[in-house]
């Protein structure tokens, strides 16, 4: 890095420091996690989602909210992406709760063409006109100092609409992952980093270690709420080559690790055996079962056993309920 680039980065970091939303805090357990039944994608759950978010103490009045779903790539038969009806439900729930602005943004990991992500007409057509969709792959970014030490990256270039938001909501799909065992709320943060900076895929993060990158991002970026689409998840060779696995639930929580750990248990995994979740438990609450307060439906109703690549079968556990 030459002097000019260093100074430019320093200037951007100074700007980024103004975003108070990114100061990482460590709330104490217990961490409420709600399991909301949703047997199919036809039903509008915005009212129920708003009720849960409100009960969780999420105050959206007058706030700018950015919903970050997971759009990797589109396949006609595989449930790869967060379903558009879940995204729309969450967006409308935020409007119900008085959000001043609701934006749906994603930096798709595989597809450059935004038509295959949040700018697809199928999503736009079911959204309230007040909701905007933004392509996070192409546009401005803000350099945030990396609060972790694992990747060695001095900063993360975070898409500007994410940095400008008061409230960030992570909305992943419940899936197995052929390198990480599971991909949920924490891994979903890769999609706030623009592809023009990081490429398709975000190969730099792979080179620095996917687990390291997940953990550094988790330390750097404050996620205010999490909604996992487990209505139909993906098992086997996820995150793109697996098979549909119906679970019939949304997982909602203010605590990303608590949501991920609860979802992992629903999928039949022992979260302590998944290395990056175990490491995240050192600075985020919600890994231990006793730290999580499950609300809503009885979890045994949704308990599944997701098929997974052979190397992750030793990470499975349960029954948990």
């Amino acid at each position: 890095m030459n002097r000019r680039r260093f100074l430019e980065d320093a200037a951007m970091l100074a700007n980024a420091a103004a975003f108070s939303g990114f100061a990482q805090t460590a709330p104490s357990p217990p961490c409420p996690v709600t399991l909301l039944p949703m047997s199919g994608y036809g039903r509008d759950l915005s009212r129920e989602m708003a009720a849960v978010m409100s009960e969780d103490g999420l105050d959206l009045r007058g706030k700018k909210v950015l919903l970050k779903p997971n759009f990797v790539e589109a396949h006609p038969e595989r449930p790869i992406n967060t379903h558009i009806s879940v995204i729309a439900g969450a967006a409308h729930a935020c409007l119900r709760l008085g959000a001043a602005e609701v934006v749906i943004g994603e930096a798709s990991g595989h597809r450059r063409d935004p038509w295959f992500s949040v700018l697809n007409p199928s999503l736009r057509d079911i959204l309230d006109k007040k909701v905007r969709c933004v392509d996070l792959n192409h546009g401005d970014a803000v350099a945030l100092r990396n609060a972790g030490r694992r990747t060695g990256l001095p900063v993360f270039y975070v898409a500007a609409p994410v940095a400008r938001a008061d409230v960030l909501v992570s909305m992943p799909k419940m899936k197995t992952h052929h390198w990480m065992a599971v991909t949920l709320c924490l891994k979903n943060l890769f999609g706030i980093l623009p592809g023009v900076y990081y490429g398709w895929p975000k190969n730099l993060l792979h080179f620095r270690g996917i687990d390291n990158s997940i953990l550094d991002l988790a330390r750097t970026v404050k996620v205010h709420y999490n909604i996992i689409d487990g209505v139909v998840g993906m098992e086997g060779d996820g995150p793109i080559m697996g098979k549909a696995k119906p679970v019939g639930a949304l997982v909602l929580s203010r605590f990303p690790l608590a949501a991920d750990a609860a979802a992992a248990r629903i999928m039949g995994f022992e979260p302590h055996r998944i290395p990056y979740l175990l490491q995240a438990g050192r600075f985020l609450p919600g890994l231990k079962k006793e730290d999580v307060v499950l609300r809503g439906e009885n979890p045994s109703r949704f308990a599944s056993r997701f098929d997974c690549p052979e190397e992750f079968k030793g990470m499975r556990g349960g029954p948990f309920w």
Binding site: M1, R4, R5, E8, A11, M12, E73, H75, H110, R111, R112, D113, P114, W115, F116, L119, R132, V134, D135, H138, G139, D140, A141, A143, Y157, G195, V196, Y197, Y198, G199, W200, P201, N203, L204, H206, F207, D237, M241
Partner: protein
């Protein structure tokens, strides 16, 4: 220089309305100037036959973005990021005769080499081939390699050893039944899906530089499945690729024109819109 047609003039005018006071173009209306949409807008103006004088401020913005080592990054605030864009910039510098900028960009490109890896039996591709990465120090991928090939080939460096190996990489990543995915052709024995934009770019980068036989399934696939392609970016790249191989594109061009005319402003990606203009112009911008 040819005069733009009446339809093209309206598209050019709309494109120009995206330009920023500093001379650059943003990805989306109202954003700040970024390298890629600025470069592609410049190429679209060139393809539409707009006199070079009208692109002066745009070229000045792009030239000022170039780093001392010849590379070019995402924007003025992040000059060290997104250096894969140097290849696109070289194409712009080539067409506008900016020889000094071009020479520096090509020097940088020739020195920018992707990391290789040992082969993985699950992924049917040759990981030992070096191409171009999105980010220095990482693996080689189809799109940055294809862009680098376009830049080198246009500039008379098509027989450079780096270009020869780059073409091998792009050919190696072909999906056996046709097309290119953003990454790998197959995992285990299952082919990945072809991406329209990646396929169009890859085919364009190989046009006239590789045996037609291995490319035919991909050209045929684009031609046969063109009705499935709905996005501006996908249709534009398909038209550009099919045109470069002498295939019929009249129907697709009508769809492209309609899509460009009907796209809502807030969704309009200036880079993809520029690709649409390039496709409609019929001019060879990415091959000699």
């Amino acid at each position: 220089m040819e005069q733009p047609s009446i339809g093209a003039a309206a598209f050019v005018s709309r494109l120009l309305s995206f330009s920023r006071p500093d001379g650059g173009f943003p990805y989306y209306r109202g954003g700040s100037s970024s390298a890629e949409p600025t470069i592609l807008a410049g190429l679209a103006l060139f393809a539409a036959g707009i006199p070079a004088g009208r692109a002066e401020r745009l070229l000045s913005w792009a030239g000022a973005l170039q780093n001392a080592d010849g590379s070019l990054g995402v924007n003025a605030g992040c000059r060290g990021q997104g250096l894969w864009l140097t290849a696109q910039a070289a194409v712009l510098f080539h067409h506008y005769g900016l020889k000094e900028n071009l020479a520096k960009a090509l020097d940088f490109l020739v020195g920018l080499k992707s990391v290789t890896a040992s082969n993985n039996p699950r992924i049917k591709q040759d990981n030992t081939l070096a191409g171009w990465p999105w980010v220095p120090g990482t693996f080689g991928w189809v799109e940055p390699t294809a862009w680098a090939l376009v830049a080198l080939q246009l500039s008379g460096l098509g027989d450079h050893p780096r270009a020869l190996e780059g073409r091998k990489l792009v050919l190696d990543r072909r999906i056996p039944s046709g097309g290119w995915n953003y990454g790998n052709p197959a995992l285990d024995d299952r082919e990945l899906l072809p991406f329209w934009d990646t396929t169009g770019l890859a085919l364009t980068s190989l046009c006239g530089r590789a045996d037609i036989g291995p490319l035919r399934p991909s050209i045929d696939m684009l031609e046969k499945r063109q009705g499935e392609i709905e996005s501006l970016c996908g249709i534009a790249w398909t038209v550009i690729a099919l045109q470069s191989y002498g295939r019929e594109t009249a129907g697709l061009r009508i769809r492209l024109r309609d899509l460009m005319a009907s796209s809502a402003d807030e969704d309009l990606h200036a880079g993809n819109y520029s690709l649409g203009l390039i496709a409609l112009s019929g001019k060879k911008v990415f091959s000699a």
